[in-house]
Amino acid sequence: MTTGTSIDLRHIAWNGIHIDIPSVWDARVLGQRHLIFEKDFQPQLQIRWEKSARRHARAFEKGATRYSAQMGSLVPQDRFPEALHQVRTNFDRILCYQNETGMVTGGICQCAACHALLLFQLLTDDVAVLTETAASLSTVLCHDQAENKGESLWRIQDFALAVPVPFVMQDYTFGAGLTRLSFKSKDLSLQTCKLGPADTRLNQQSLAEILLTLTGGSGLELADGEDDISCTGERNPSILKQIFFRLRREKPFLSAKIRHDTDNNRLLAVILSSTRPIPLTTTEDICRKYEIV
C-alpha cells in the first residue's frame, strides 16, 4: 500500500483498531490497547486508545489535560502542525502537544464516528517520523468495519486471525516460540497458539502430542487430518464425566485443531472449550481464518 507521500504501508489490526504503518516499522504489543512501533529497534511511535465514553466531549477534555503533564503543553489551534492536517479527516477533535523547543511530541484525537479516544506519542526527535505518523494516523479505523461481517480482525507481526465478534480478548502472550491469544465469549473460551519453528518441534513431538500438551485435556479423542499436516481433537464427555470435569473446574467440552504451515514453518492451533457441546465447524471456521501473513 502506498500513500500520497509515497510511504510504503502495511496493515495491522489489534483489539478493534486498524492502522497502516510504514512497512519498515515493527509493531510490538505492550498492552491490550497499547502498541509501540519501532524501526530498527528504535521506538518511533506509541499509540493507546480507549473505546467511547458516554460523555465523549468531557472524556476528551479530561484526557487532554491528563496527558498534558507528560507530553508537554498544548499547541494552539492556529499553529496546528501542517503535517498532521490529513489526520483531521478521521477525527473530529484533535489536539497536539509540544515540548519546550516547540517540537510536536504527540497528540490526542477523538473519532468522529465512534468517539474512541486515541493518544499518540512520538518517541524520537526525527522530523520525518511526524510525516510517517500522520500518514499512519490518517488510516486509523477504530470502529471495526469487519465487525459488520460478524468478525474482528487481529493482524500483527506475522499472523492474521479473524474471530467471531462475540469473542473478547482476555489475555495474550508473545513468548519465545509461542504466541498465544485468548478470547472469551458468553459460554465459549478460545485460545489460538502459534508455535515455531515447526520442524524443530515436530522432531521432538508429533502433532497429536503437541495438541494434547496445548489443550492439557484428558480424554481428548484425536484424529489425524487427511493431509497429514493437521490433527483435530474433541472431547464430548458423558454426563457423569461432565460432572467430574466441573468438579475439577474444567470446561467439559473441548474442540481443537492444529495444523502445520509448511510454507512458513509454523504450527497454528485453535482450541475451543465450553460447558456445552461445540460444533466442529466453529473450530474449522476459526482455523481457516488463522494464518501466517
Binding site: F41, P43, Q157, G175, A176, G177, L178, P197
Partner: protein, 134 residues
Amino acid sequence: MKLFKKKRAGKERQGLTRTEALAGIPRRSPSAIWMVLEDGDILIEFPLNIKPFFLQLANRFQKGPQSRPTKKLQLDQMGSRVWQMFDGEKDVKTIIREVSEFSGLSLQEAEISVTAFLRQLGRRGLVIIGDQSS
C-alpha cells in the same frame, strides 16, 4: 553517624534502558571453557561461584591438588548457534535479527528468546555485555 541516611534521588543507580541494552555487545567470558560436540551442540565448562568459606570447606575434604569446582552446561541446537554469535563484534540487535531470520521467529519472539538466554548466561557469569568501546 546517621543510621538512616536518606538516599539522594539523583544518586540512585539507574538500570539500562531497552535501547541501551540492545546496543550492548555480548562476548563470552574468558573463564568459560567451551567445546563443540560431535552433534554440533556446545558444552561449556565454567567455574562455580562459591563463597570462600564453602570453597575452603570443600578443599578440606578433597584429596589431591586443590581445584576450583566447575559445572558443565550443554546447549541445545539453537542455543549453540546463538552462543557462537557472542563474538564480541555483534550487538544484541544484530543477534536478534539473525536469530529471527534463521529460526523463522518474529522479531518480538526472537527478542524474548535471546534476552532470556542472555540473562541466564549472564547470571552464571558466562557472558559479559559491553559497549562498542570496551
